[in-house]
Symmetry: C2
Subunit: 347 residues, 2 copies
């Protein structure tokens, strides 16, 4: 199995990507294609003591890079040699079975849509983000690809998120909840109120709504929301965790005894930090695009890259894309009826 | 000055309300009207050693209670003797200058709208919620009254939130940001993208967008968003803080040395807990209704009730309602032009 890796993607350049690829090439029985500026990649390989490439690592030269500040669609259209575009192209042409990138998630989505396209019947692919919780991990989608959504989009997110939790986390019947502002199904915004009535028609294990206070408890396997809300929730989880730790540090520093106490409790803090580190969860898949594509955090280290490659392998082995295609095809009539009903209502 | 208090509002019945009222009657130079079932209130007063009412506390009998599970609008319409309806009525009739309730926030908003009405020119009143941050406090609005919003609503939230931070927290030119999913003003959902261009036309200190990760840093004085997003953010801040503390506790318990350490650091943890306790911030005002109305947390203790009464007093003294009316009147033409532009676009 061949997996393309956006070798210069992420905030730390080639190093974590090359290290993650080397580790995966040793441990995972896959072939990794490093995609990016060849000279930079080879230099990094040499810096890591690789004078000759291992037989299951190859390099594809892709000299362009995506400007993070620019419009992703324009960048991907104009820069055909950008590493992320080449990655998606390799999957499209069947020269890779999947790709992994720690680069710009918007660009990864656009490149995937341009080169690989959508799975038939999927209206809007989404970023499905595994989120650390008290109990373990919940999958939140959409993590930010679709700022404005319609009920049909959310319903398909529920189907695709369930498939992911079954395939990757081996759950039998993952619970699904829709993020809202009250336990009653009559509460919520227009989108939520129009999505809920159909949630029981699409064969997922729908458990009702979920409020903000329960997002991180881990009681729900798949949390569904639009990409605007999802992106705010994900970034807030990250930011608030840091803020609370910083508050504790600030108060500890004021108290000599507490400084000693914090030293004694260091192991506990490290364990919490490890538990809430997203690196272990193998990145966020782009669900609904016609191929396996995994986005890893911009701050990915080699462990995160290795785990993303591992998840990509698993998704290929489990025929994740084919499975979603089958589920969506089976629900075709249901989705059509819902879409027609919504269009009727909009009139 | 007379302030009506929903005497049985909140999760703990009469006790925290009566204690908060007694404290305020002593310390604040106000008259508190306890509104609710007279027998229950008098019993609680006696339990607190008050055989005779202090001269600046009175009781207004209101035997009905709002069913928390029912539709607030229906409840408020049908139960004219519900304490929250009577509170709003007292303000409307000029028999009280303000009201405070720790009861159902939706019912408080509905009762205020029914009895007191909106300030002229305000399209949608909002719940303005003070939120603990690393630096101090930020005001987030809307906290949940309006699940679906239009640009004009958000613009008015910005104006009213700025007025509140000036009046209550004595800030000169409070910074305003709109919650979104990227620093670029071209990102965001439809609502945000259509609100941003007008934010500089309304005389607030607009600083651009704010991402989820910065919600709790305290860099922004007024955070503007729709009530769906706002409610999720507020509840998530509460829930996630608890989750992280629970994670730390869980890891500490596994390690004997860490248990000792946590004991030594106890003062630091208590300080963080105190700092993040919303009780100190004096409740959440309903901004845009035609009178001073403050909602306090359902779990309010006597300190929270006291602080809410204190904030109510301050808002009356500072002519908060008149100030908002003046600001909105001054922006009348701007708001009309924005509304017309949006209606044109919808066509």
């Amino acid at each position: 199995m061949k997996i393309a890796l956006d070798a210069l993607g992420g905030d730390f350049g080639a190093k974590p990507n090359v290290l993650g690829a080397l580790k995966a090439a040793k441990a995972l029985d896959i072939h990794v294609i490093l995609v990016g500026d060849e000279a930079v990649i080879k230099q990094e390989l040499q810096a890591q003591g690789c004078t000759a490439l291992p037989p299951n690592i190859s390099v594809v030269h892709a000299p362009d890079t995506i400007d993070m500040g620019a419009e992703p669609a324009k960048e991907c259209r104009n820069k055909k040699s950008a590493s992320i575009v080449v990655c998606a192209d390799l999957v499209h042409k069947g020269e890779a079975d999947a790709f992994v990138s720690a680069g710009h998630s918007g660009a990864a989505m656009v490149a995937s849509l341009f080169r690989m396209g959508r799975i038939k019947g999927v209206v809007r692919p989404a970023i499905a983000t595994p989120m650390p919780t008290y109990k373990g991990v919940s999958l939140l989608l959409d993590g930010g690809a679709n700022a404005d959504c319609k009920p049909l989009h959310l319903l398909q997110f529920a189907v695709m998120g369930s498939a992911y939790m079954e395939k990757v986390f081996d759950l039998k019947s993952p619970s699904v909840r829709i993020l809202s502002i009250g336990e009653e199904e009559t509460k919520g915004n227009f989108l939520v109120k129009h999505t809920i009535p159909h949630m029981r028609e699409i064969g997922v294990n729908f458990q009702g709504t979920l409020e903000g206070r329960d997002v991180n408890t881990g009681e729900t396997d798949v949390i569904v929301c639009d990409g605007f809300v999802g992106n705010i929730v994900l970034k807030m989880a990250e930011g608030l965790s840091k803020t609370i730790i910083n508050m504790i540090k600030r108060e500890v520093k004021k108290r000599p005894l507490a400084i000693l106490g914090a030293l004694l409790a260091k192991g506990a803090f490290s364990a919490v930090k490890k538990h809430t580190n997203p690196d272990q969860y193998g990145g966020a898949p782009l669900v609904g695009v016609n191929g396996v594509a995994i986005i890893s955090h911009g701050k990915s280290n080699e462990v995160a890259i290795f785990n993303a490659l591992k998840t990509a392998k698993r998704l290929v082995e489990k025929n994740f894309v084919g499975d979603i295609a089958a589920r969506v095809a089976a629900l075709k009539d249901t989705f059509c009826a819902i879409e027609a009903e919504m269009q009727e209502e909009e009139k």
